[in-house]
């Protein structure tokens, strides 16, 4: 089985903000320690790839794999409409057949257990 993590950010008109996400995806891949074969990023709005584009790319990349597990991580701080409605809606827009592809949407990053500690660490 192949495992891909797609970090989904909002997307910005500022290229530097989008680049910050792709740099982060590279860093996550470095730390992934065999948990993922691939870490990609996608954007809900404005920037590309969109969520369906990233998922389709991932399915194409793994066309020869027997099974593919795609984990979607909403890189959003609050569980607003983007997280609760828009991201699942975008996932549903994927046009490739999903045989042997399992797509799972995780909680948004703002709900991470260690967010309070992270705030304290960066504010020191």
């Amino acid at each position: 089985m192949k495992r891909t993590l797609i970090i989904v950010a909002h997307g910005s008109r500022r290229q530097a903000s989008n680049d910050e996400i792709s740099e982060l995806a590279k860093k996550v891949m470095k730390f992934a320690n065999g948990n993922y074969d691939e870490v990609m990023c996608a954007y809900l709005e404005i920037a590309s790839p969109s969520i369906p584009q990233a998922i389709e790319q991932c399915i194409d990349n793994n066309a020869n794999s027997e099974e593919l597990e795609i984990t979607i991580l909403p890189y959003f701080l609050a569980a607003g409409r983007h997280v609760t409605e828009d991201i699942p809606h975008e996932v549903d827009r994927v046009s490739r057949p999903l045989n042997n592809v399992n797509i799972c949407i995780k909680p948004h990053i703002g709900s991470a257990e260690n967010m309070a500690e992270t705030i304290l660490a960066i504010s020191r």
Copy 2:
């Protein structure tokens, strides 16, 4: 010296999203372990308190302290215009005298050292 941390979020029309931030502020206060006497939240747009309102409230709360240190933590994932321009601009709008008040703006949460590990932990 008194120390206050103000977590600055974007602010949402969805009350639940704003509540998520105030809950987080309470959690940060619990873990603060003496690093802060007070943890507040403020919103850049839409919700209240605004950044100047929160800072002014904090200065009023600590009117009897000899010295006050206010740490502003931009709770934003990317260093876009909100972080680089709008938050400093809002801090400058404070109308109280700043004698013995030191205000320091920290890097945005998205630049936290452990963000890659946090992504991996929540996506498991």
